[in-house]
Subunit: 219 residues, 2 copies
Amino acid sequence: MTSHTEENYLKAIYKIAEKDKKPAGTNAIAKEMDTSAASVTDMLKRLSEKGLINYQKYKGVSLSTKGSKIATNLIRKHRLWESFLVKKLDFTWDKVHDIAEQMEHIKSEELVNRLDEFLGFPKFDPHGDPIPNADGKFTLRVQVLLSLLRKNDKAKVIGVKEHDNDFLRYLNSKNIQLGSELYIREKNDYDKSMIVEIDGEKVTLTEKVTKQIYVKKSA
Amino acid sequence: MTSHTEENYLKAIYKIAEKDKKPAGTNAIAKEMDTSAASVTDMLKRLSEKGLINYQKYKGVSLSTKGSKIATNLIRKHRLWESFLVKKLDFTWDKVHDIAEQMEHIKSEELVNRLDEFLGFPKFDPHGDPIPNADGKFTLRVQVLLSLLRKNDKAKVIGVKEHDNDFLRYLNSKNIQLGSELYIREKNDYDKSMIVEIDGEKVTLTEKVTKQIYVKKSA
DNA sequence: ATTATTTTTTAGACTAATCTAAATATTAAT
DNA sequence: ATTAATATTTAGATTAGTCTAAAAAATAAT
Ligand SMILES: [Mn+2]
Ligand SMILES: [Mn+2]
Ligand SMILES: [Mn+2]
Ligand SMILES: [Mn+2]
């Protein structure tokens, strides 16, 4: 049986490997877990004992098949619970992550599968992230950063790269949410900022922001 | 912040106090928690430090106001999640306790209150136990044990005293569930067993069983 | 009122998870 | 190729929660 803590380490390793496309280093894990490097080394030994990771001193770690399955299932649970919170309990997308962080550790195969069915087998969570199905398969999708679009382009918001709650609340304040239709009215060559029309309103978005929004170009 | 473990102790103390109507002893708690008496003494010291219980060596413990609030809220969450599992995810009443045992520890005031609303502010859980409201108030109700009824009485099942999953599955097999209408056709003076009609079918119930079922006499 | 039984507490040790500080390996810079 | 900087591991301690075995207190039996 994997402990709450072990599960969080596996998720952290998964996340880092996904981003960096190479074995996760001790410091990177320590930063992600907000803990000391020494603690990480201890845990890596334990996870390695359990056959959940491939670990050699000083060489960094990658998830084993077993570890990867657990991590994927955690992501599945996390994103399904986030979907539940938004779709059924009317939470906004900036309030669900911390709660799902707790709920993802509930252990019951049947629960997650019934929840999945209850939600209608959603493919993406409230932030546009793909939800692995019961076999651990993710749905892939073409998505492009808003920052890459040009003047007069139209697009639909389908996800966010950054998940920080303050960023999400910033988007709320600009009326930007999943499904929002955007129309690029101006693009400034110098600072890359954009004037975007949404629901008839024009808002200015800096490049820092447009680089965090995934869209699907509409025609 | 109260830990998962501390919460379970508070619940155990609450449960024992409710049943025995007197301070809970170390051994009783140890039995309820399936742990050693020594571990209990350790924990009682810690809970006492935190002001969650009233504790004096050798004298047994009772919950403080603070501890009682936490315990009641745990029961609220437990029973709301059980209701969710049965009403929304179609679990049977013999499958929900263990899952709710995990879910009751999710910390979010807003979550539990939104869940309550989503479920339509239910007053009783799938086993007929009262669900405390946001203020910790339980709904009281007249309920009598089936074993006390006599021949020709009619009654509706409104709860079970015993929560053991095997017992619940036994009731499933006899088609007895919350809301079932019962009609006592025979009562044996010697062994107190009953022949009860339910959905047109006659079933024999021993006293061991009828002493675990709460009913409301219908006229 | 002693003695026996039961209940509770203490003593001492163990594991998981954490920390700081120091030691060692690896990588980057000169 | 040394030296400097960075990354990682070890050493040693700490805390929550647990255990067994032994001591002490409370209760029951004679
Ligand atoms: Mn999240
Ligand atoms: Mn998400
Ligand atoms: Mn229950
Ligand atoms: Mn219940």
